[in-house]
């Protein structure tokens, strides 16, 4: 095992060294830092060129400059990083990176989680309904999403998602034909997802369409979008639905203890609704984070107290329910500042932002308003990123679940009389996730490079922008800094993938 790790790390280091050398040489050929001086008409042109050559050490051959750069970069291993500095702005590359990385992380974190979650859910649903209209629909959609150029989508989102929606907010009412149309579409989607015989489909369609119509009519008449809120009653209803849903998936509704523990958590959340509003006044990031942990813990404790023969199931179900209820209470509080936010001077009724990561010069230090401001800025880039990566997760999870469902042990599980839920969730789903576990680390590592195009269009100053700006400024050091981060991440992710695979799939042996 140790030999394996050693060899793996060694070969990764060699690969990384080779890759940095390739990029460095390419940059030294592609970027000419003297170009602007050759074109200049300054009287002391020769002198300027001379001094820049000396400053950038251009007399030295590129391979030797690479070694010098490597020496500085190698210092990172002993805590003395020197990745050089940008010759245009004079800033050390380390500083540039340390401001760009958090920004990129902020941009990609939510979109990655949402894309993985949504993609797997839709892929699983599509696999379980193989060769139905829904499956074909999802397959077609994922092909379309694969083929969409990200820059085109992003500009469209800016136009429709931001400008269109902001215009709509001036008078947020739906016309009757719009309500009817949307309800029919909603009903059609739901009946396709739920499936079953004609009668069941008809009932699903009717319920879903009626619910959509009622919700839209309510939103339209009450002007909900201008001053949205959920309130304890809605949260309670959502909570109960979530409790039933989560229990049905994780433990089965037959398991009364699991159901009761999930419902208890919902009741607990509702009971704490008003006290929490008070605590929210003093909200900081860490307080909210702690509350999230408290949600998980309380769920686990409630599940544990209910006991029964299968404690773990109750605990898991209750913890998931608790987190969902907590998220809704959080959203409810956030909605509380929506009206004040969207009508404040800087925003003036156009809340969905198209560029940047925060409203410039937006005063105030209220946690909720600032969070909402971040969310409105994150919304469009997040949607753009989800649209791009969602399709591949759907395809992967669908394919891998279909493959697993055809295995012999699934038939064995069915033959011994296990309910279909247990077969799908416990036996098939877990194994279907193994191939995905090998893709996700690589995707996350790739995203560290920033979504170059998305960042450019939404003027997000993360890693992608750093790269593009430096390249355009013929500034090689920041580009190298950018690459060393992305490359290291990718190489690390590759090593992690190897171990994850060996850990998850006992058939794979790690041999030295």
């Amino acid at each position: 095992m140790l030999t394996f790790i050693g060899r793996r790390v060694l070969s990764s280091v060699i690969v990384l060294l080779g890759a940095t050398f390739i990029v460095y040489m390419l940059l030294s050929v592609a970027l000419d830092p003297l170009e602007d001086l050759y074109a200049s008409s300054a009287p002391n042109k020769e002198q300027l060129i001379e001094s820049r050559i000396r400053a950038l050490n251009l007399d030295t051959p590129a391979p030797i400059r690479y070694l010098l750069w490597l020496q500085g970069a190698g210092g990172c291993l002993i805590g003395q990083c020197d990745l050089g500095s940008s010759w245009v702005t004079g800033q050390p590359v380390i500083n540039l990176l340390s401001s760009a990385i958090p920004s990129t992380l902020q941009l990609i974190t939510m979109s990655t989680f949402l894309a993985i979650g949504l993609g797997i859910t839709v892929g699983i649903a599509s696999a379980l309904r193989q060769y139905t209209g829904f499956d074909y629909g999802v397959t077609f959609m994922s092909f379309v999403l694969y083929s969409l150029p990200s820059f085109w989508v992003a500009v469209l989102l800016k136009l429709w998602g931001a400008i269109g929606f902001n215009d709509f907010l001036a008078d947020p009412t739906f016309s009757t034909p719009a309500i009817i149309g949307l309800s029919v579409v909603g009903g059609l989607i739901w009946q396709a997802v739920v499936g079953g015989a004609v009668r069941r489909r008809a009932i699903t369609f009717a319920i879903a369409a009626a619910a959509t119509a009622a919700a839209l009519a309510f939103i339209s008449i009450s002007g909900w979008l201008l001053d949205p809120s959920l309130g304890p009653v809605t949260i309670g209803l959502i909570g109960v639905a979530v409790a039933f849903g989560v229990t049905a998936l994780t433990a089965g509704l037959r398991n009364r203890k699991a159901l009761y523990s999930a419902l208890t958590v919902v009741a607990l959340g509702l009971a704490l609704y008003y006290p929490l509003q008070f605590a929210f006044q003093y909200a900081t990031f860490w307080l909210i984070f702690g509350m999230g942990l408290a949600c998980v813990l309380s769920g686990l404790i409630v599940g544990f107290l209910f006991g029964g023969p299968d404690r773990a199931q109750s605990m898991r179900g209750a913890a998931i329910t608790a987190v969902v209820v907590g998220v809704f209470i959080f959203i409810d509080r956030l909605m509380g500042v929506w009206y004040a936010y969207s009508n404040s001077g800087r925003i003036s009724g156009r809340p969905i932002a198209t560029i940047g990561s925060q409203t410039p010069g937006f005063g105030g230090n209220d946690f909720w308003v600032l969070t909402l401001d971040t969310f409105t800025h994150l919304l469009l880039p997040t949607i753009a990123l989800i649209l791009i990566s969602f399709a591949s997760y759907t395809r992967y999870s669908r394919a891998s679940l279909l493959e697993v469902m055809n295995q012999d042990y699934i038939r064995t599980a069915r033959a011994k009389g296990l309910p279909e839920r247990v077969v799908t969730v416990r036996h098939a789903f877990r194994n279907a996730l193994i191939p995905l576990a090998t893709i996700v680390p690589l995707d996350i590592a790739a995203l560290f490079g920033g979504a170059i195009i998305t960042e450019r269009i939404f003027a997000w100053s993360g890693m992608g922008s750093l790269f593009l700006h430096s390249l355009e400024a013929r500034d090689a050091n920041p580009v190298m800094g950018y690459f060393i981060v992305v490359g290291t991440m990718l190489v690390l992710a590759n090593i992690i993938v190897d171990f994850v695979y060996a850990a998850l799939d006992p058939r794979i042996r790690v041999n030295a």
């Binding site: 690969v15 969409l148 820059f151 195009i453 390249l471 490359g487």
Partner: protein, 338 residues
């Protein structure tokens, strides 16, 4: 494609009863046909892929004949560069479907200086298709050679070639594409395509290597060697045709990715640049005009999506055609009828 390879059951394949009966039907259908014929027949039956192939052919014909290619003149009255008086207010498209199809003077509209959008989009489509095809051909060739050498000879050569592949994979494609585009920027689309081919061959190399590693253990390779065939003859005459399925499917995926890469780079300003036209460059040029002249933005995007979608669908059809394991199972309703 016309290699007559008998379909022998693979050792180690385990079929259950259902699959066996289905295979029996399938085998009866394709009895006595060459592999190429079987694949063609399955492909033609794939409705989505056939529609995609026809649409793509239509786009290619439209793009090449309308404004002509190189010295050959086309039938369209405008060229991408000439400026004509603005026909509709703000240069709106004259294409309309009310009261029959009316093409008009400028079906896709005009930009603010009176250039014909149809001609420009056609020119952009030509360039993007050209880049796509060159990348598809060149990257596939490099990938096949790399993968075949590594998989066939194994040992040190395999190690060296695969580490090289790893190095190139470690560099994000958009990043190295942007650097290469910056370098050769403003050069012809052919130069850009060649440069991009040098970084997009990696997945093909890995795939071909895997195929060759398993193929080289098969009996027909031993037979060829005993018969005195040289290594290169075995690799490219005996083994390559057996790997052609995965290669063709991967080539289509590569081409779909290539057109998106080229348009993205051109959009960022590192690909094909003004005054030359590509679909991504058009979107970049006109993105600020979206609010006032949306057609300038719609048409190039629509053509990118159509081309990429068609290529993806063709790839899907080819995969189904080459890989009988993933064959389409008739729906429940059809089963009940039959």
């Amino acid at each position: 494609m016309t290699t007559p390879t008998p379909i022998a059951p693979q050792p180690g394949d385990h079929h259950d009863l259902v699959e066996n009966t289905e295979n029996a039907i399938e085998l009866k259908e394709v009895e006595g046909l060459s592999q190429g014929r079987i694949v063609l027949r399955r492909f033609v039956r794939h409705r989505g892929a056939m529609i995609a192939a026809i649409v793509l052919l239509g786009i290619v014909v439209l793009a090449t004949t309308s404004i002509g290619w190189g010295p050959i003149p086309g039938w369209w009255k405008h060229t991408p560069q000439d400026m004509s008086p603005i026909a509709n207010p703000r240069g709106a498209p004259t294409l309309s479907f009310s009261g029959g199809l009316v093409v008009g003077e400028h079906p896709f509209g005009q930009d603010n200086i009176g250039q014909d959008t149809f001609a420009r989009v056609m020119r952009g489509t030509q360039q993007s298709l050209l880049v796509m095809v060159i990348i598809g051909a060149l990257a596939t060739t490099i990938g096949i050679v790399m993968g075949a050498l590594a998989g066939f000879f194994r040992g040190h050569l395999d190690n060296v070639l695969m580490r090289l592949t790893d190095m190139v994979i470690t560099i994000p494609v958009v990043m190295i594409g942007a650097i290469l585009g910056f370098w050769v920027g403003g050069a012809s689309p052919v130069t850009l395509a060649v440069a991009l081919s040098l970084v997009t061959w990696t997945s093909m190399a890995r795939l071909v290597r895997g195929e060759f590693l398993s193929l080289r253990e098969r009996e027909f390779v031993d037979a060829a060697r005993v018969a005195g065939a040289s290594s290169f003859r075995i690799m490219f005459k005996h083994m390559l045709p057996n790997a052609i399925g995965v290669i063709i499917v991967n080539t289509t995926l590569l081409m779909a990715a290539a057109i998106l890469l080229e348009t993205a780079l051109s959009f960022l300003g590192f690909g094909i640049r003004y005054p030359d036209v590509s679909l991504g460059q058009l979107i970049n040029e006109y993105q600020t005009a979206f609010a006032t002249r949306p057609w300038l933005f719609w048409w190039p995007g629509l053509f990118i999506v159509s081309i990429a979608l068609c290529v993806n669908f063709i790839g899907d059809g080819l995969r189904d055609a080459f890989d009988p394991r993933q064959r389409r199972i008739p729906s429940k309703r059809k089963m009940a009828k039959g």
